[in-house]
């Protein structure tokens, strides 16, 4: 059985400097850090800083290190949610009925836990602007309906999340792929990555993947350097150098090597960069199957717990527990205009309990058990943590709770296995729930996807 660490052993693993609390966070050097992703310096307000994160690369944050999020407009089945540019839509009045944005269920149905239901701003604190705030670069100030001023980036109003507890946390949202049937999620914002033209960075479950802007994955060969080049002749049938124009200049961790007279190639951290034309889909990891080749990342995602394993499935690689059972994450967004998440232990548990056990917590434990953490389990990142859960309610439990279970959580949300998976590599629970698991359901924790339009 392959452990996650073994899987990544051949890759360039990068360890992030972990901030212990808000006050300790230091602003990153935009071009000299090699422990995390470098970014392009752009003008910003004096009370905004850039913070390294484990999962999302550099993000903009408040002075005290809280990640800033936007809530972009998102087309749903029966209309739009999120915020159009320039128009904040997150306010202090709780929405108490469904919006009917996802068919076939109608609008106007009273939402769960109405008496305790939070307003949008209870969960998403507007990033208010000082009275004398001045626009700078892409940063502007919007006037809200409640007559307060709010910072915006690219015309999108900005918020912080109450789920983030430390600088560098991004527990409120993600930049990972979410399609039309997913909730209108909140997305962390950050400075542009310091990459050559035509290159971009994609947030995935295994790290910040370097690709071309045409979604072609970028690769490097072992410890190849400019002199001598290892990938020549027949090798160039399989891999194509990422060409650099004649006017290209080195920037940050990117340099230019001259393969032959007049043929220049980009190199990342000293290693010549290639594409793999035989990749069959976007954001592919297929080229890494070739001996000695690996995908390039600006930073790797933190490793899962040591005991976890990696299993081969019919569609790619999935994270699994120590017994080889596939790991699932629960995802939930409600059908209100606010599109509030319902996948966190502090959110209403009505949706999760319905899906995992028909409303019965004991059946949930039977069908979708938590993944137990050993007493001596060690947390090595903010992304993977050990939490105490009250199995009856699904909410966080206190240390003295008699029935509390000690389980692994990803982004503060417990992870699960599925009783219907009998053999390592089984994925019989993937896509369980509303909208193929994307709105109120369970999704497999993919580490590699060769069939579903690229790893998320």
């Amino acid at each position: 059985m392959v452990t996650y660490r073994q899987l990544l052993a051949a890759s360039v693993g990068l360890i992030l400097t972990q901030a212990s609390n808000l006050a300790d966070v230091a602003e990153l050097d935009p071009v000299t850090s090699i422990t995390s992703e470098q970014y392009r310096e752009i003008p910003k307000p004096s009370n905004v800083r850039v913070v390294a994160t484990e999962l999302e690369g550099p993000v903009f944050a408040t002075e005290d290190g809280r990640t800033l999020y936007k809530w972009p407009q998102h087309k749903l089945r029966n209309g739009y949610s999120g915020e159009p540019p320039g128009k904040p839509a997150c306010y202090g009045e709780p929405r108490l009925t469904t919006a009917g944005l996802m068919s076939p269920y109608p609008a106007g149905v009273p939402l769960p836990d109405r008496d305790q239901r939070p307003a949008c701003t209870d969960l998403w604190k507007p990033f208010y602007a000082e009275a004398d705030a001045q626009p700078v670069g892409k940063w502007t100030v919007l006037r809200r309906k409640d007559n307060r001023d709010q910072w915006a980036f690219d015309e999108q109003a900005l918020y912080t999340s109450i789920r983030d507890q430390q600088a560098g946390d991004t527990f409120g949202g993600t930049r990972r792929k979410h399609d039309g049937d997913s909730p209108a999620i909140r997305v962390p914002i950050g400075p542009p990555p310091l990459v050559p033209p035509g290159v971009t960075v994609k947030t995935t479950s295994i790290g910040r993947l370097l690709t071309t802007t045409k979604n072609e994955s970028l690769y490097a060969y072992r410890s190849e350097s400019a002199e001598p080049l290892a990938c020549v002749k027949e090798c160039l049938v399989e891999f194509s150098p990422l060409k650099a124009p004649a006017v290209a200049k080195a920037m940050g961790e990117w340099s230019v090597v001259e393969r032959e007279a007049g043929v220049r190639q980009w190199a990342f951290r000293g290693r010549p960069v290639y594409t793999h034309p035989d990749d069959t889909h976007s954001w592919s990891l297929e080229g890494s199957d070739e001996e000695g080749w690996e995908n390039l990342f600006t930073q790797r995602a933190p490793s899962p717990p040591d005991a976890f394993t990696v299993q081969e499935t019919l569609a790619g690689l999935v994270l699994a527990d120590s017994a080889g059972k596939s790991i699932y994450v629960y995802r939930c967004g409600d059908d209100s205009l606010d599109q509030l998440a319902c996948d966190h232990p502090n959110d209403t548990q009505v949706y999760r309990l319905a899906m995992c056990g028909g409303g019965d917590a004991e059946r949930c434990q039977q069908f979708w058990p938590f993944v137990s953490a050993a007493e001596n389990a060690i947390e090595t990142s903010r992304a993977w943590s050990v939490v105490l859960i009250d199995p009856k309610s699904g909410r966080y439990a206190q240390q003295d709770h008699a029935d509390a279970v000690r389980v692994w959580a990803y982004r503060q949300r417990p992870v699960y296995t599925y009783a219907g998976d009998l053999l390592p590599g089984d994925l019989n629970g993937a896509g369980t729930g509303e909208w193929r698991g994307k709105r109120n359901g369970l999704l497999a924790f993919w580490l590699r996807d060769d069939f579903m339009k690229g790893i998320e």
Partner: protein
Amino acid sequence: MTLHRLILPTLALLLCASSFAQSPQGREIAYVMTDLFWSVYQTEDAREECPRGFNDGPREQFETLFADVTKHTVESSQLEREVATWHPTATPDGFEFKSVEGPYSWGMNLDGKSDDEDFQHPDGTVGIDNQVYRAVGCIIGFRGPDGVEYIFQNKAIIDERYNRMMIRLTDIDDLLNDDFVGVDFFRGRDRLLTDATGEAVVPGGTQRVDDRWGERLIRHTTGRIANGVLTTVPISEAVVPWMNLNVPSIHIFRDLRFELSLSATRASGQIAGYADVDTWYHQLIRNDSTHHLSNGQISAISLYRALRRFADAYPDEAGTNRAISTALKIEMTQVHVIDEHQSLSGSMSNVRRDLLPPESTN
């Protein structure tokens, strides 16, 4: 030399040449799946098979149950329906279920018997086992040409590679008549070769054998070709990957067999066997949300009960049938196989020799 001594060898040579003219190069040929539909026998107005009309779907059932949604809650309405979908039971749900009542169906006689539950093939063959058809035949989402299952399943075959299932025939002497051919069933890894429209698959493409992720899908059996129609010996159990709307799922078929009309460029016909009921159901609801099911008026909640009721094989310890007879219409196009690691040279441990058709036992 007499005349007949000249004529006979010449005739023999010509016959031999004629026979080999039907034999593909290298005595093997492969086909890749391009279309796959649940076999649903349809008359023009459906009155023969569905005299009570078509079934309601989730939207209609929701409106019946919760006419005034303001008097309900998300828990007591929407989530109640989702719970019933994801935690199904075989007990009646209070809605009339309209199953197929007509005498005819596509499919095969899987058990060699003819009884009251069986259909008759339109060609007159009796004993047709296709109880999935009985369950889905009066649900518009399963009917062609525009049912949601009909459309999405086929679109996925063209668009995705996860369900790139193929067969390779080996040891072929004659593509028209051959008492014994080898049959490999496996997954390819590559996109389909299409014409300039991008929609019509053309013969002559290549497919790599998927031994990277799909090695466990490889099955081997044998078959015979009679008048250009391949009939295979059943495979005891086959896993068939199934994907639409981006969720990788599977079907598990027992006693799976093929009946295909062959040509040098195409193969078409049907596959049939016994589908595992719960796997069948979960493929449906994992691939299609309640929204998509609504578009096809497919109440998963009602359908599960029908599947359980009509299940006709492989009883569990309690005597409850866990598999249901079914047939699928399949279209395939010729391709060249690249088997880099000789992954198709496996054993035939999955062949149901006890179900060998009489024609093959000579």
